[in-house]
């Protein structure tokens, strides 16, 4: 397949929704208002861990303008939600487990009245000891967050003989790594509006990553037939995993059912921060054994992940961290263990990378240390151990799909940053306290949900009267650009101009269930399903044309919006005419559906749900940094990513992912950390929780692609939305080491941390010279 043959695939097609976003015309869910709507507000817990003794809502109910006050007693169905384990109450009954727990909710005529009514709800609590340290939480004497104890999940994967391998190793490196709690910080806060629409359908307009699953979870909570619930979620102002689980939807639905009126609910940034999902903070103990020649022989890892008060996707996050804990390297002796631990520290859930940025920081620092200790070039060390097609991955699965490890490592030398790094690394003689350093790190990320989970893509293709097509995929475009990719694929497949393609996403009434928009799976699965639906549609169009022209289907071809005779291209019928024919004959236009099942690995990892994955995207991240040794501040001057995305569907979209991923990874590496003390959030807004601004970014972020085509993928592509952020932090911390000789074992590498470590290093240095 030669990319040049395509009209849209592989081209930098601008986003199909960009113009409406630039003009401010497009309506986000938070921009919708309905006549007669009420305003909803949620009463959050007063303590991070407490028993509820009494809830008195009588005063709030008596306030004029308050239309409904709901508590756990009003939840008609299951008072619990959660993607894997529905252990989070919609409204708490007898216990609160974190400071964002919902206790009651109000619907009132105005926002102000709803806020005032919140203050009139009287909740009597009996505070309990706060469980805030995940390591202490798993001791038998710890207070329990849930009755069953604080270990939500414990997974252990063992292969080979680790003990023997360590004995045979020439070098063993042991360190403990800690990573911070990252906030998604999407710009559009969890906000939504809901009402009862035609045919008594409860319609929820709220940012989500999987409307069909929301529909299922809502049906359980609200005791409502799922066909009486519609969820609409497009466009969404950012998600990154943070809108995968339910947020405000069950309470919104409950208030609408109770009041029979539209209800709008707008979170504040502070409420969003304390109430909803974060990246799991992890403590990771690593012990890695290696031979003198650089061959990795053993890896023993224990991961402690703080999942906060409720399960959500904590278990799968830990399992994915386990799968990727060894990096994309050959290792046949591994002992990897993970604990997913309940505490009262907010709630952790899905976040871009899903356990991989955490372990990538650890393994890529280990690799950098090993390279230095053994005097081996760090790229060569990685190449020597690199997983390749046909190899057995650390958790035991054979890699039979595209594996870009070596291609990515070779690609490093193609970046401008690599070529010119010596020039950039010259000493700053005017400001000798400023030190520069270069570092890189390698990572990979599984696509899809893994073994044992239903993993499929679905697409509906509707033929339109104008001779165009409407693609309906249940996945959500919250910025990553899948909608545009589907339009490219549909236009390419249907041989028509891209402006004849309309894409509908994230709407349970209009789209096919395509699984969650997560796990770098959107382009791959939605793309494949669109191809299948389009193949069927092409057959439908050709068959109709064959009737109209009275020729065999085999003699027909499609070109630029026409079905034409193969040998007589001037004999043709436009799609518009075909549509008119359908309307004339049946008063109806055809639609086709495409479904595609994710290919899976040929084995499963015992006792590790979801493992292994089958298709992986690879990337190397490069960073040039400057460390100010007087302040400890690190600035990233230049960055680059080398990415194996298979064949690229949209170059501009891929670069956008790479640049955005790099900067998000940089924030994770240098300054982002949610500070929670005794269950109370200390950094609830953008002046205390700092995300990168335009002044923090490097002067250049290069994107180099190396193509290792994925034969099973749509136009041989694979998804990269996560891998692009997974190894930026260790690239930066390895560069800090290169600059000032400091190993960073804790993220983020804030100015304070680097400054303190530099001081200690100096003290040590003085001690040894004295």
């Amino acid at each position: 397949m030669i990319m040049e043959d395509f009209k849209y695939i592989g081209k930098s097609v601008p986003r199909i929704d960009a113009a409406d976003k630039a003009s401010g015309k497009i309506k986000y869910m938070s921009d919708l208002n309905f006549p007669g709507m009420l305003f909803g507000k949620i009463l959050r817990a007063k303590y991070p861990h407490a028993l509820i003794k009494k809830i008195d809502t009588s005063q709030a109910k008596a306030l004029p303008g308050v239309v409904a006050v709901v508590t756990w007693e009003d939840v008609p169905g299951l008072n619990g939600f959660g993607i894997v384990t529905p252990d989070q109450p919609v409204l708490c009954k007898d216990k609160v487990r974190y400071i964002g727990d919902a206790v009651a909710a109000i619907a009132a005529e105005t926002k102000e009245l709803a806020e005032k009514a919140l203050t009139l709800i009287d909740v009597e609590y009996e505070p309990l000891p706060v469980v805030d340290d995940p390591i202490k939480a798993i001791q038998s004497d710890s207070p329990k967050v849930h009755d069953d104890g604080n270990i939500h999940l414990h997974t252990k994967v063992v292969r080979g003989d680790v003990r023997k391998a360590f004995e045979e190793a020439d070098l063993v490196i042991e360190h403990i790594y800690c990573t911070g709690e990252q906030e998604h910080a999407f710009l559009e806060i969890e906000t939504g509006i809901a009402r009862i629409e035609e045919d008594d359908i409860l319609t929820i307009y709220a940012g989500s990553q999987y409307p069909q699953r929301d529909q299922m979870q809502l049906s359980r909570c609200l005791a409502l037939n799922p066909c009486k619930i519609r969820v609409v979620s497009y466009p969404v102002g950012g998600a990154f995993g943070g809108k995968d689980e339910l947020t405000i939807q069950p309470i919104l639905g409950l208030l609408v059912l109770k009041t029979k009126r539209p209800v709008k609910m707008v979170m504040t940034r502070e409420e969003s921060v304390i109430s909803y999902w974060k990246r799991h903070p992890m403590i990771m103990k690593y012990k890695t054994g290696v031979k003198k020649d650089g061959t990795l022989v053993a890896n023993k890892v224990i991961i402690y992940a703080d999942t906060g008060a409720y399960a959500s996707l904590g278990g799968p996050v830990v399992n994915l961290a386990i799968e990727h804990a060894c990096g994309p390297y050959k290792l046949s002796n591994v002992d990897i263990e993970g604990y997913c631990i309940y505490t009262n520290n907010g709630v952790s859930g899905a976040f871009r990378g899903f356990g991989v940025p955490e372990t990538a920081f650890a393994i890529e620092t280990q690799m950098d240390i090993i390279a230095e200790k053994l005097g081996i070039n760090p790229i060569e060390l990685r190449k020597k151990n690199a997983l390749q097609k046909g190899d057995i991955a650390p958790v035991g699965n054979k890699l039979t799909t595209s594996v870009g490890t070596v291609a990515v490592l070779d690609g490093i030398s193609k970046t401008k940053l690599w070529k010119e790094r010596e020039k950039y690394l010259v000493k700053n003689t005017k400001k000798p306290w400023i030190k520069r350093g270069f570092g890189f790190a390698l990572t990979y990320q599984g696509t899809g949900l893994g073994v044992g989970l239903p993993d499929y893509g679905g697409a509906i293709l509707r033929f339109c009267e104008n001779g165009g097509f409407e693609v309906g995929v249940g996945l959500v475009d919250y910025g990553q650009g899948i909608g545009t990719s589907y339009a490219q694929i549909a236009a390419e497949m249907m041989k028509c101009p891209i402006d004849k393609i309309k894409v509908v996403l994230g709407d349970t009434a209009l789209t096919a269930d395509s699984g969650p928009t997560s796990a770098s799976r959107g382009l791959y699965l939605g793309g494949k399903a669109t191809i299948i639906a389009a193949e069927k549609m092409m057959t439908v169009l050709k068959e109709k044309t064959s009737e109209m022209l009275k020729v065999s289907v085999d003699n027909l071809d499609a070109e630029n919006g026409y079905i034409c005779m193969k040998n007589q291209p001037e004999k043709k019928i436009s799609y518009e005419e075909i549509a008119a024919q359908f309307m004339k004959e049946t008063d109806h236009l055809p639609e086709t559906e495409g479904y595609f099942l994710m290919p899976l690995a040929d084995m499963k990892v015992e006792n590790a749900f979801g493992l292994p994955h089958h298709i992986f995207a690879f990337s190397a991240h490069l960073a040039l940094v400057e460390v100010n040794t007087l302040t400890g501040q690190t600035k990233v001057l230049k960055g680059a990513e080398v990415i194996d995305a298979g064949d690229v569907i949209n170059r501009q979209g891929l670069e956008a992912q790479s640049e955005g991923g790099f900067v998000m990874g940089m924030g994770y590496g240098l300054f982002e950390n949610m500070i929670i003390e005794k269950g109370i959030f200390k950094t609830t807004n953008f002046s205390t929780y700092i995300i990168p601004s335009a002044e923090d970014i490097p002067s250049d972020i290069e994107t180099v692609t190396v193509t290792d085509p994925e034969e099973t993928g749509p136009y041989r592509a694979k998804g990269v939305a996560e891998t692009v952020m997974c190894a930026t932090a260790p690239a930066i911390t390895n560069a800090i080491y290169n600059a000032v000789g400091l190993r960073i074992f804790k993220l983020p590498a804030t100015s304070e941390l680097v400054y303190t470590l530099l001081e200690k290093k100096e003290e040590k240095c003085n001690e040894s010279t004295n």
Binding site: K21, I189, G479, A656, F686, S693
Partner: protein, 158 residues
């Protein structure tokens, strides 16, 4: 009971008179009363820039302005291309450079770019960075946004 105040202002070139609660925030008036939802709320406390508008020619966070302060003001939002023709060039540049992903920061980002290009038609890269540094974006990493502003400045100069 909060007192109401009668105010008048020009919004995207049209004059409006309305009665607003004395403690109303201009952002809410623009979004809820004037139904111009292009201006977004991302934090409500002047930290993210999603609600950036032009207020008497200066870029401000609409979430930090009380509605009564807008009495007599000239206001331009992202929908105001009729009065600020440069907006069209900036919007086009954002689309073509791929500077938009989720798009939620985009209107504010475009308004900060407009303010920058109004006072400095040929900004350097570092001036562009400074000019949009009050607008947070979580998707793009800013690279393509900076390129879009650069491109818009060239297009407008033509």
């Amino acid at each position: 009971m909060v007192q109401t105040m009668d105010i008048s202002f020009a919004l995207n070139g049209k004059e409006y008179k309305l009665s607003v609660p004395a403690n109303a925030v201009l952002l809410d008036i623009i979004r809820d009363k004037m139904h111009l939802t292009g201006t977004k709320e991302g934090c409500g406390r002047g930290e993210c820039g999603a609600c950036t508008i032009l207020f008497n020619g200066r870029s401000v966070n609409a979430c930090l302005i009380l509605a009564p302060q807008a009495d007599g003001a000239e206001i331009v939002t992202v929908e105001g291309a009729d009065v600020e023709r440069k907006l069209l060039s900036i919007q086009k540049a954002f689309v073509e450079e791929g500077a938009i992903q989720c798009g939620f920061c985009t209107p504010g980002m475009i308004m900060s770019s407009l303010y920058l290009l109004n006072k400095n038609p040929n900004p350097s890269i570092s001036e562009i960075r400074e000019g949009i540094s009050g607008n947070l974006c979580r998707c793009t990493g800013y690279v393509k946004i900076i390129k879009a502003v650069e491109r818009a400045s060239k297009d407008i100069g033509k």
